[in-house]
């Protein structure tokens, strides 16, 4: 995530946008903002941030992108860039808070029993729903670094990039990922 460094900074500081931003860049980022602001917000919430902070940081991420484009930073994959910067903001937030971060999930009503399982018997669908709920709850209770690692891996990020965001060695990141996968598997196969 070398690009992410270009605009790294204090998340709560007011971000200054130059007046001369090109309309194309603004339109492009505005379109991304419409499409990705909720996924980025959810990603931040998934790292244990409260709703207000997650929403504020999600908005900051897009302003940072606009600034980066305006400064001529080379960004190959805007979506990956956004998730990378959001992750760094989450890590900064953890460090300021210095406490375990849990994810507060809404109650999960009968969510997955019928979803995407039309070929399952009712009993199998219920069992699948329960399994997904167990894994989801285990995910919410993972240590924050492991949870972020898993989420970044799900975004297709390589170990090295994950390690850079978490500020650890690649081997440590790999170890954390395998511990997290182990815990989630245990929850799935309880």
């Amino acid at each position: 995530m070398a690009e992410a460094k270009a605009v790294d900074g204090a998340p709560f500081r007011k971000l200054e946008v130059a007046v001369g931003v090109t309309p194309n860049a603004t339109e492009r980022v505005s379109a991304l903002y419409q499409t990705l602001r909720v996924p980025i917000y959810r990603f931040l919430m998934a790292q244990g941030l409260d709703a207000g902070t997650a929403q504020e940081l999600a908005q900051d991420v897009f302003i940072k992108l606009l600034i980066a484009i305006e400064r001529g930073s080379e960004i190959h994959n805007e979506q990956a860039w956004l998730y990378g910067v959001a992750s760094k903001l989450a890590v900064d937030f953890w460090r300021r808070e210095g406490r375990p971060m849990w994810v507060a999930l809404d109650a999960m009503p009968a969510l997955a029993e019928t979803l995407r399982a039309p070929d399952l018997t009712p009993e199998a669908a219920v069992a699948r729903g329960q399994k997904l709920r167990r894994v989801s709850q285990a995910m919410a209770r993972l240590p924050k670094e492991q949870r972020l690692g898993i989420h970044l891996r799900m975004q297709g990020m390589r170990y090295r990039a994950i390690a850079e965001i978490l500020g650890v060695s690649t081997s440590t990141a790999a170890e954390w990922l395998s511990i997290a996968v182990d815990r989630l598997r245990s929850a799935a196969n309880e």
Partner: protein, 585 residues
Amino acid sequence: MNKHLSLQQMLGYLDGELSKSETTDAAEHLHACWTCRIEMDRLEGDIAVILDAHNEAFIPAIPLPLSAWASFETLIRQNRPPARRSNWSAVVGGFRQAFTPHRVVVLGGLVIACALFVYLRAGTQAVSAQEVISRVRLADAKRLAVPQGVVIRERLQVRRIPNGAAAPPARRMDAWKSPTATVWQSSGEGSEDAVSELKGVYASHGIAVDLPLSAAGIDSWSALSGGTPTLTKEGSDFGLNFVGSPNSKTGLSAVTARIEPSTWHVKDMTIQFPDSSVEITESEEAAVPISEVPLVLLAELEPNSLPLPSKAQPVSDIGSPMIRSSSINMDQVQLDVLAVLHRLHADLGEPISIAHSNKTVTVGVWHLPGERQLEIRAALKNEPGVMVQTTEPIGQMRAATSSVGAAVPGLQNKAIVAADTADEALTKYFGEAKNEQAFTREAMEKSSTALAHLYALRNLQAQFPPERERTLSPIDQARLESIVQDHVTVTIEALSQLKIQLAPLDEAFHVGELSQAQQSTYEITWQDASLDALGTARTVDRLIRDIFTTSESPYHAAEALPQLQQELARLLNEMGTVQKKMIVR
């Protein structure tokens, strides 16, 4: 490669993260080893489950934002510097002109060289050992201040290395800490001896069992060493070192601890004795809800919080048969349960189910967080004939039971989606986006409050329809009425406030006189009247969202405000009917 592949190796292989030689070795092993090949298939299957759980259960359960999204244009406007330059920015600008990039590089080089010279010459640290210890204490105080119902777990690797011998494999152990107790527990094969040995080391030096990697742990051992702390830099971490006095009777040579400066957390500690050293390294630290703590362990950590068995149990008398059930008036029991839930505000949208048979009322709380489950169980403790169920009965469909909260459709996670495409007239009226957002948030809160209480009324009328209500004793009728009245009062109050809030818009958007809402002329029960009111409240809520937030069917304020005011007046009228029906009886 003869040894089986570890999970980390398998994951690395699947993710393409192994080095070339590691990949070749792993591939060769997989060709040769059926066990690993099957395990690899299982891992792939489990990864698919993890992905599904993330997409279908975890992400949808994340609450939506509570406030509206600002438009991107608004964000840019808010983050744009003011047009006029302040004196300060002029000074900054002057500095920028004076310090060109070339000058900055030269100056920076000089400063770094000077700093390096001073550092090497004086050998001083930016922070002192005492300061690091203070910070570790401070961070620990924060870390350990967990809410009630949560305990801390340090997952550790421990080993004792005799001097001059090869290091044995590290053993895993867990150290648990609650506000009242600390427990060490072996974790993994062969770790019992390691834990016993460590306990022995602590006991023989008179040090109490606490979290090993904590400020308290360091304080205890450093005090014992009697040495003055020194600080070293180990990569990005700090190393704290205490060297014991050679003449000391404690037999302690030195204590070293590694501190992570970003969190001021102790990552590992080595206690050096003349004949051996003990290494304690952290693998993971977590705050764990007591609902996830094994019962045997919980009995030691927090005996008072010991949860009841997870299967449905009579909460009034754990483990003993319910001998009073035959003489219980089930209407009364159900009303008792409703009254308790009402007192705890647990009837306003929380996923709790209530089922009743001839002998028992079963309260299902399995979707609630552990702490809330305990609160409800404690409140229902003395209610005869009540069973609290903390695990979902397998195969039981939720619809089979009546519910006090689960039927409320997403009150908590309904959110203002966006206000960025609201019509221009509204934008002009509010002046600034933040004013509009605050107004919308306030209106939505009032509407949500009214809806929550109306859904509670709906659940009450479903459990006590007129024909059942008539069979209640006068006392029980009065109790039911009291709960209904509570909901009606709060609803009317929220709606009245909403009406007052919306009033200034009438003038601005030229909303004319409203036609008088029709009083119902036919005989109606409070049950029917509250259902009517719920229908109207949903319309009001939808209109508020359509007018003030971005929705699939946005309305223009000038067109929709009269309708909103009309529906609100109708709703207040209907609530008046519910109230009147309760008073007249």
